[in-house]
Symmetry: D2
Subunit: 152 residues, 4 copies
Amino acid sequence: MSAHFSINKRVEFADTDAAGIMHFANFFRFMEVCEHAFFRSLGLSVHSMGREPGRDSMEVGWPRVHASCDFKQALRFEDPVEIELNIKELGSKTVLYEFCFWKNVEDQEKRSLAATGKFTVVCVSWHGGDGKIKAVEIPSQIREKLEQVISV
Amino acid sequence: MSAHFSINKRVEFADTDAAGIMHFANFFRFMEVCEHAFFRSLGLSVHSMGREPGRDSMEVGWPRVHASCDFKQALRFEDPVEIELNIKELGSKTVLYEFCFWKNVEDQEKRSLAATGKFTVVCVSWHGGDGKIKAVEIPSQIREKLEQVISV
Amino acid sequence: MSAHFSINKRVEFADTDAAGIMHFANFFRFMEVCEHAFFRSLGLSVHSMGREPGRDSMEVGWPRVHASCDFKQALRFEDPVEIELNIKELGSKTVLYEFCFWKNVEDQEKRSLAATGKFTVVCVSWHGGDGKIKAVEIPSQIREKLEQVISV
Amino acid sequence: MSAHFSINKRVEFADTDAAGIMHFANFFRFMEVCEHAFFRSLGLSVHSMGREPGRDSMEVGWPRVHASCDFKQALRFEDPVEIELNIKELGSKTVLYEFCFWKNVEDQEKRSLAATGKFTVVCVSWHGGDGKIKAVEIPSQIREKLEQVISV
């Protein structure tokens, strides 16, 4: 498996705004689409069960505590875009993802960076029965998969 | 209480698309905002408890089985719009809402219809424990409130 | 070319709502994604130029005057869905599209209809210079392509 | 005029996701709604004309080059939320806005911070006729108004 993961998407009409470009908030939706596709590529779902030795199965979730985006070039209706995901830090309970948005992806010479973004997500469990979530250590089964793709 | 209910909203930038107008799918979101504001105006929430004599309390929901919209005039960024709700039919388990979108609402002479829409919603309960929803009769406590605002 | 066109999409997390299912307004966005993919499959863009013999080139657009959806089954996060487009009527200036949403598409026995929808779109031109759009006849170059896929 | 500006909004159903909370990307939409309401409060529109002495009138826009959000507490359907805007830096061509999301706003004791966010926006002009935007100095008429509300 390569050190990064990417998906290809197209800017849909509903993603644009009256300035004629992709609305900035949709870059965040696209990053999440990439994150979830990455999880599926590992054989996991975002709502997957992490089963630990000596522990009950546990449903974990990944709410974000930070999201940011730096915008360099506009994306327009029907533009193909490649969204690349890298893991920059893998903490005991957190993951820091970095994303790159590439435009003009069909032409290696024109290919250029449209935006970069970051998510810090926390591994949480609903375990406990009070309905509250709490940060938990990333289950080892998931950690092993994430370690395989961390950027070096 | 008058025979109709309305709210005032403004078209936000994220509601527009590259044609420079409110994206058509957002008319449906605006209708739902109006429906939920209507429920709150009755002292109910969309997720409210209907308590029937001789029955356990029951949480009801209102999924839509039909939604439609006819578009007459475009709405643009920052346009103020009045969304008017009328109940057209009140069945034992269903409600048919009609919506009107009014633009140029600040000027009685220019006030004109931008769109009309319809929702058919069904009263459902999660009662039963199998996690499945089923259509139920509209709780009498809610029905009484809806009857007060039905269009005649 | 077959008598219908379809695309495959996945329900993304941002498409869902607090009821745990795809928000109903997003069915309309998905139908438009299918409509635009259909246009691209014909070698056209929604903002394409229709060049008529004896006429200047003309940019045409396709605003919708009607959109509706009937909801039969919920779609959930990560559900694969096939959206099928059929042309039901081809008028001189209008097209009536019908859409079917198929779920459980990976299993022919479980494959079932989640929703059906309709768009009536009007061919318009910005020609004229006053910035106003007006309904125009569908350019023959486009009409020929649409006629090839009309349902019979 | 006070040193900050705020608006009150409610979390709508379409703003939530299958985790039962406001989808994180919608915090960015809410910040923009606040930014635009702030501009209107100054008697400006986001697409307003800045008229400089000795210069032609010039339409300026405010694309963002950076947006970020730190999430502290979830917002749920129908939650009232106050979004507060502060100007943190006023450059010659840029503005740095900071936003606070306050929940439980109806109860001073329970009032607490749900999220904080930042936008860096650049003043741009379409002046020049080639359809390209370029960063320009904030028109003095607008700068004067912004200076009145900068946080100290």
